[in-house]
């Protein structure tokens, strides 16, 4: 019996290892695709024509929507930075989503806001009651909407969409910092392919530790906190490379809610963000695919790696864990809601490749990873597993993960190289190793909890994201 159990354990662990190898190889392929895409992008950058896009009177104007909930620390600086983005014509719409702090008072004082009556268009459904709309007395392109919070960013975004005037809508976060030319660059695909492009997204990076001046990141640095450092690597891998790769293959399912641009008419047709959706950004793109593929309309959803949106990432285990559980629940929710798309040839590559990938490798990944780990440890403890086999098993699993992170780091170094200091490079290399020992397993545990919560349909608690604020020029990190 012992031999049979030992043999079964070994077979199971080999299968888990195979799963890891396939997953990481997929990532590696995506990194390779993204790498070639970035090379192509950089070679063409000198004649990309961003200046012409800026001066073209036909460049579509954009409504930038910032849902804000208790963002008193950064809101004024953030809105100033959004208003001064280099773009021919854009308006900024702040949706104060039931803030209980000084968010609105600070906006009111900084921009000399006065109330204005705006008609309730009802273009997209909003559940939270609208308390009022305000504009600055000096005529700047800013609208502030105050509404009751129902704990949903989607609801706040819908309120913003309803007062937006322009054909393109950019959804971002109130604490996000967008590069000065970020909007111009993320809109470029709409200029290049105005008929088919329906949504684009930009890269999101961790801003912790970086130096800000007037709402712009002027010196990108690695954070001092190890959890944040690991997230820098994670974001690099998944945003800069993973999504670039998926986009190149025409298989983009997620455009981050922190920085995405959408065609307003398509948003209205979809009824805006869905109420009750936990991963509202992925849900929106899934519905977009469903709608447009369903009626065989040619369209494109694109990821642009160059415009960067900087955001503060959690630095404590508690907050990070809550965020990751929510992400996992969000994914489960999206896959369950759109289960008819999984493996459905009607939805092309999205149905046949992307949705199954997210189901098998992203949603069920933590189950398999933790089961593999658990059985390997139990096998070792009870002497059922050959110690050299177990050691090599772990070495391959962790080693491949480290390899992947370092490959992402290399592509970053060869392309954008935002982190210019040697100290930051060494820290990033160290974080690539550390991530795989401890953090990765903890991350799998959080994701598993999120999945269990989704299965149990447990009520979602948002919690509070403790912000430390960014470092501004002149302060010592």
């Amino acid at each position: 019996v012992r031999d049979v159990v030992a043999r079964s354990l070994q077979i199971f662990d080999t299968a888990v290892l195979g799963y890891f190898v396939v997953l990481n190889t997929l990532y590696l392929v995506l990194i390779a695709i993204a790498g070639t895409d970035l090379v192509r992008f950089f070679r063409r950058l000198p004649f990309a024509g961003f200046d012409d896009e800026f001066t073209n009177p036909l460049t579509p104007p954009v409504s930038v929507i910032l849902p804000a909930h208790n963002e008193e620390l950064l809101i004024v600086e953030s809105v100033e930075a959004m208003l001064s983005l280099r773009y021919p014509e854009h308006e900024v719409i702040v949706v104060d989503d039931g803030s209980t702090d000084e968010t609105f008072a600070r906006l009111e004082a900084a921009f000399d806001l006065v109330p204005i009556v705006l008609p309730a268009t009802g273009d997209t459904p909003v559940l939270g009651a609208i308390h009022g709309t305000y504009v600055p007395r000096d005529g700047r392109s800013l609208v502030v909407v105050r509404k009751e919070s129902i704990g949903s960013k989607g609801d706040a975004s819908n309120a913003g969409i309803n007062v937006s005037r322009f054909p393109l809508v950019c959804i971002t976060d109130a604490d996000a910092v967008i590069d000065e030319e970020g909007l111009l660059r993320v809109v470029k695909p709409f200029v290049d392919d105005p008929e088919r492009m329906v949504a684009t997204g930009g890269t999101v990076r961790a801003a912790n530790g970086s130096i800000l001046y007037r709402g712009r990141v002027v010196d990108a640095r690695m954070p001092r906190n190890w959890l944040a450092r690991i997230q820098v690597i994670e974001y690099l891998r998944s945003f800069l490379l993973g999504r670039t790769g998926w986009s190149r293959l025409g298989c983009l399912l997620i455009i981050s809610g922190a920085f995405g641009v959408f065609r307003r008419d398509v948003l209205l047709e979809l009824g805006g963000f869905r109420h009750g959706a936990i991963g509202e950004d992925a849900d929106l793109i899934a519905r977009m695919h469903k709608l447009l593929k369903g009626r065989k309309q040619p369209y494109r959803v694109s990821f642009v790696s160059e415009p960067v949106c900087w955001t503060e990432v959690p630095e404590t285990r508690e907050v990070l864990g809550r965020q990751r559980k929510r992400w996992s629940r969000g994914l489960a929710d999206v896959l369950w809601t759109h289960r008819s798309m999984i493996g459905n040839p009607r939805y092309g590559r999205i149905g046949l490749v992307v949705m199954p990938y997210y189901l098998v490798f992203e949603l069920l990944g933590p189950v398999i990873e933790l089961l593999g780990l658990l059985t390997a440890v139990l096998g070792l403890v009870f002497g059922l597993l050959n110690p050299p086999f177990a050691a090599l098993f772990f070495a391959v699993a962790f080693g491949y993960g480290i390899l992947l992170s370092i490959a992402a780091l290399l592509v970053e170094e060869l392309s954008y190289h935002r982190y210019d200091r040697w100290r930051d490079l060494f820290t990033a290399l160290a974080a690539s190793v550390v991530e795989n020992v401890g953090f990765r397993q903890l991350h799998a545990w959080w994701r598993l909890q999120g999945l269990i919560d989704a299965l149990r349909r447990k009520e979602l608690t948002w919690g509070v994201m403790t912000r430390r604020g960014f470092l501004t020029e002149g302060t010592e990190p």
Binding site: R44, F47, I116, F389, V396, G399
Partner: protein, 349 residues
């Protein structure tokens, strides 16, 4: 081969790959920093020559003939400055580049293989803006590469030579470059291109017509008004919308009556919305009654545009808006327009 052996080999390969990638990351940083340092040094060496040309465009400048990396970097530096300077300084820099054979070399490069090289050359030709580069750029309009075609379109616009108009409109017919890019290039050709554009309003290609209408609107071509009015009864909704928008931009009062007629016969809300806006831009009080009616339109963009247009009409519009906000059910669009205007006028909303 046992599983253990496979795993051992896998570990060795992965460890090796980690070391190689990590090392490459470090080496690439060293190389990049050294390259940047060297480039900065060369820039410091070359910059005074270019700045001297810009500062004294009429003077005679004997710049040394650069070779190899220096010549490349001189071209890059001059290229950067061309985007930043205007007038005589710019002309002087272009003259220097032309004398040094940079322009001829770029024209030659538009024939060599490689999208990046050809597009880079086209971009440089566009920035130099010399009329003799037109044939080289027009040739690129039929390139198989979309990027090359787009760069050539933009570059032809920068040349500002009205003779490029037919070639650009041909690209619109082929739909091989996004229409907004073509339109921008055509507008850059200036008012001298109007004649050609007005002729193309009768083109059989709807794409050419759309681009031409947009361009004439942006050029505020009064000469085109009569011909544009003849397009208002067209069956293509998109063309009608663009024509109404163009007539609004031009601002010629001859367009008021045809636009009002269009409202009578066109129930499609995108047309109605654009016509309402155009009527505001035209500023004729005779449009007030119909705009008041449109305040109650079921589509928010139409009602919003009508309210904005009424504000633009001046006194007649303001009175109508004031009347619309009175009573038991004040019109929200009129109220919004009035309060916006009050804020802009410095009063309380």
């Amino acid at each position: 081969v046992t599983g253990l052996q496979v795993l051992t080999w896998a570990v060795v390969i992965i460890a090796g790959a980690i070391v190689v990638l990590g090392g490459t990351t470090g080496i690439s940083r060293v190389r990049r920093q050294r390259r940047a340092h060297r480039r900065e040094r060369l820039r410091d060496e070359l910059r005074p020559g270019i700045v001297a040309i810009l500062a004294d465009p009429d003077g005679s400048h004997q710049l040394p003939i650069h070779r190899g990396r220096r010549a490349d970097l001189f071209g890059v530096l001059a290229f950067d400055y061309l985007a930043k300077v205007r007038g005589e300084s710019r002309d002087a820099l272009v003259r220097v580049l032309d004398e040094r054979g940079t322009v001829v070399d770029a024209e030659r490069r538009t024939r060599r293989p490689g999208t990046v090289g050809r597009s880079g050359a086209a971009e440089l030709l566009g920035r130099c803006g010399l009329a003799h580069s037109r044939p080289a750029l027009e040739r690129l309009l039929t390139s198989r590469s979309k990027a090359e075609r787009a760069v050539a379109v933009r570059a032809l616009g920068h040349l500002g030579d009205p003779a490029a108009a037919p070639a650009l409109l041909e690209v619109a017919r082929a739909r091989s470059v996004p229409a907004p890019l073509i339109c921008q290039a055509v507008v850059r050709l200036g008012p001298e291109a109007q004649g050609d554009l007005i002729t193309h309003l009768r083109s059989r290609s709807i794409d050419v017509q759309r681009v031409t209408v947009d361009a004439l609107g942006l050029l505020q071509s009064v000469d085109a008004v009569e011909r544009l009015i003849t397009l208002l009864p067209d069956r293509d909704l998109e063309l009608v919308v663009r024509t109404a928008r163009a007539l609004g931009r031009i601002g010629d009062p001859r367009a008021v009556a045809p636009l009002l007629e269009l409202l009578d016969r066109s129930p499609e809300w995108p047309v109605v919305a654009v016509v309402a806006r155009a009527l505001g831009e035209l500023g004729s009080p005779s449009a007030a009654p119909i705009l008041i009616e449109l305040l109650g339109h079921e589509r928010p963009p139409v009602a919003t545009n009508a309210a904005t247009a009424l504000v633009q009409l001046g006194r007649a519009g303001a009175d109508a808006l004031a009347a619309a906000v009175e009573g038991d059910e004040p019109n929200p669009y009129a109220a919004a327009a009035l309060s916006r205007q009050a804020i802009l006028d410095g009063g309380a909303p």
